[in-house]
């Protein structure tokens, strides 16, 4: 993935990884090598102008655990030196190894990082898709976190998109209302007392009142980060939350989920119609909701999710 034209984003990284695994599967390759190019003189595309030569390394470090969510990962390489990256690309050209994106797409700087076309067609052909797996290196702490904070309750991963609270707000029309989620958490205290809501996402992207809810725990308040959150999610803790990066990770996993507030405009990229109950490759415990959240709607959706997992996760 070359960040001169690809975005630094969790959702796009998950989609990209799934497509990469599909290429590996189509060519019956057992091992995957990930190559990330972050060149200091052009660290980001025009879509993310806030990422500059002075901060791209930190953005990359923050996103790195997402690229480890791949079962057959043999190596991961990050290049900040163009000559070294060219050497590796030349190697790939000479050995003609299958890549995603293809070398021609790469040099044309054309990367389809949004659409599900390739994924849907693979599913139509084979009846399954390669799934994401928990990133290595975070399992022990994630387990300790569950034991220490969930207190025997069932952990439910929640992500409320609140880009408007971050330093670099983007596509705030996709954000959810914190008020309705707050009311839902309050309602859940009595409605689902065995549920423990693990609020994931950027540290700036939650309102302080949520930290005071008795049934909400925030991993980043306990010293954990993206890698731990993805581990909890991809280990199978059910997910409910806004259509965003974490929902994309759940989409390409077997984790039971409900994705709320799915953007209507995104339907054509997903290859489904607005109002579809689920993605073509989803399991029977994975749902989409296309409406703007209300606390009653979230409660209904959560009840559906809770019943599907039998309250156990």
């Amino acid at each position: 993935m070359d960040f001169r034209y690809a975005p630094y984003a969790l959702g796009d990284a998950c989609t990209w990884l799934t497509k990469l695994q599909i290429v590996a599967s189509r060519h019956s390759l057992s091992d995957i090598e990930i190559m990330l190019i972050t060149l200091p003189y052009k660290p980001s595309s025009g879509l993310q102008t806030h990422i500059t030569p002075y901060n791209y390394a930190q953005v990359m470090d923050g996103l790195l655990p997402a690229f480890l969510c791949c079962r057959n990962l043999r190596s991961i390489q990050i290049f900040e030196h163009k000559r070294k990256a060219l050497h590796r690309l030349l190697g790939a050209m000479v050995t003609r190894i299958p890549t995603w994106p293809s070398l021609l797409s790469h040099v044309r700087r054309r990367l389809d990082f949004i659409s599900h076309d390739q994924i849907n067609s693979f599913f139509a052909e084979k009846g399954w898709i390669p799934k994401l797996s928990p990133p290595s290196g975070f399992k022990a702490e994630a387990e300790r976190f569950k034991q220490a904070f969930c207190d025997g309750r069932t952990p439910i991963i929640v992500n409320i998109r609140q880009s408007n609270l971050s330093n670099n707000p983007a596509a705030v029309n996709r954000d959810s209302s914190a008020d309705v989620w707050f009311r839902f958490f309050k309602r859940a205290e009595t409605g689902w007392p065995k549920a423990c809501f693990v609020l994931v996402g950027g540290f700036s992207e939650w309102e302080r009142r949520l930290a005071r809810c008795g049934n909400v725990v925030i991993p980043r308040l306990c010293g954990l980060g993206l890698g731990h959150e993805l581990t909890l999610l991809l280990e199978g803790a059910p997910f409910i939350g806004t259509s965003s990066g974490f929902s994309a990770a759940a989409t390409f996993s077997d984790t039971p989920y409900v994705i709320t507030n799915v953007e209507h405009r995104a339907a054509r990229f997903f290859g489904i119609s607005v109002g579809s109950e689920r993605f073509p490759f989803a399991t029977s415990r994975q749902w989409l909701s296309w409406e703007m959240e209300t606390d009653a709607l979230i409660a209904d959706l959560f009840d559906q999710l809770w019943r599907s997992i039998d309250g156990k996760g």
């Binding site: 030569p53 390394a57 030196h81 070294k84 060219l86 290595s136 022990a140 976190f145 308040l221 731990h228």
Partner: protein
């Protein structure tokens, strides 16, 4: 202007309607042509990019392969078996500092970092540590020895690769890693991490000094709280920052007052916590990655003896003092002495703690 409004305004004179239609159609056509032109331009440019990029890949790749023969001086190859945990991160940082502080390596702008990652190791933490040495990173993280062996020839010349080869074969290092005086000052927070750490301390109180107390990963937060709160009242000009070795706090502290600060609860990522260690005015604790960060940044550090087997501190390092494990009363005296050292050595720090602006 719509067709209907024209018609109503002109009393049904069709000539204007026709004119409006024509204008509309022409506008549509122009828009289509503009889009088509844009698409054609983008299409042609993408192939122009492709042609130049293919040529660049071939020439640049061959040039790099030629330089691997031993001429290249702009990068250093460093290898490590990443086993995870605070002790291994500490060993990694010390080795890194020692390799980079060698006089011959000063001109290198890039580091070719080869990691053999084992089960529980968190790759991101190793990369973040490497970024604190003011060089650009080319990372090759391999999940097994076979891949590691295949990758080495693409990283380093035959002579430089010798040490990297060994890593894949040998058992894990167990001896204490020597910390040399030349390494002090080599650890510098990249801009964003450093800024966040400084801002964090400024928000608490920009005028005060901060003492970082590092505690074992296993320590319970209650015990830490009791230990530190009994001491802060004796040093009113200072504030105390408690940092646990691992990231996870097993219990949110009952009190996070301005006098007793828990960065782990503040959503600071690993890099910012490292920068915080490098920014704190004094540090005390067992050998771990955070005390090491403070030591390598030139800050006054008191190493408690429990980590003696991890680091072998050279006697000529002046900012690090190693003491035996202490009981509560001695610890109070040691903190007092550390604070005095910090006040005395403040001016000297200007030589070593300047943050690095990354070369572009």
């Amino acid at each position: 202007m719509s067709e209907r409004s024209i018609t109503s305004r002109t009393g049904g004179k069709t000539i204007f309607v026709t004119y409006a239609k024509e204008v509309k159609d022409r506008k549509k056509l122009l828009l289509k042509m503009w889009h088509a032109k844009k698409d054609v331009k983008a299409f042609l440019f993408s192939y122009l990019h492709a042609a130049t990029d293919f040529a660049t890949i071939i020439l640049g790749g061959i040039w790099n392969a030629y330089l691997l023969g031993g001429v290249a001086t702009d990068s250093i190859a460093v290898g490590h078996v990443a086993t995870g945990g605070s002790a291994d991160l500490t060993r990694f940082a010390v080795r890194f500092a020692s390799v980079l502080s060698a006089p011959a390596r000063g001109s290198a702008t890039h580091i070719d970092l080869a990691l053999l990652v084992e089960g529980g190791a968190s790759l991101g933490e190793y990369v973040t540590i490497a970024r604190f040495f003011s060089r650009r990173i080319n990372l090759r993280a391999c999940m097994n020895v076979e891949t590691y062996r295949k990758i080495i020839p693409t990283i380093a010349s035959a002579s430089a690769a010798k040490e990297l080869w060994k890593l894949g074969d040998e058992s894990r290092p167990v001896a204490a890693v020597p910390l040399a005086a030349a390494s002090i000052g080599s650890f510098r927070a990249p801009a964003l991490y450093g800024n966040l750490a400084r801002e964090f301390l400024k928000v608490i109180d920009g005028r005060k000094k901060f003492c970082l107390i590092c505690v074992e990963e296993q320590s319970s937060s209650d015990a830490i709280e009791a230990l530190v709160q009994s001491r802060w009242s004796a040093h009113r000009d200072w504030q105390f920052v408690v940092m646990q070795g691992g990231g996870l706090l097993t219990k949110i502290p009952g009190s996070t007052t301005k006098d007793l600060i828990w960065p782990n609860c503040a959503g600071l990522d690993f890099g910012t916590r490292l920068a915080l260690a490098a920014e704190a005015d004094a540090t005390i604790g067992p050998s771990c990655i955070f005390t090491l960060a403070a030591a390598l940044s030139g800050r006054p550090v008191t190493l408690l003896d429990s980590g003696r087997d991890l680091l072998d501190v050279a006697p000529d390092i002046r900012n690090v003092r190693t003491v035996p494990a202490l009981d509560a009363a001695d610890l109070d005296g040691e903190i007092k002495s550390l604070i005095e050292r910090s006040d005395a050595e403040e001016l000297k720090l200007t030589e070593t703690t300047q943050e690095a602006m990354m070369p572009c």
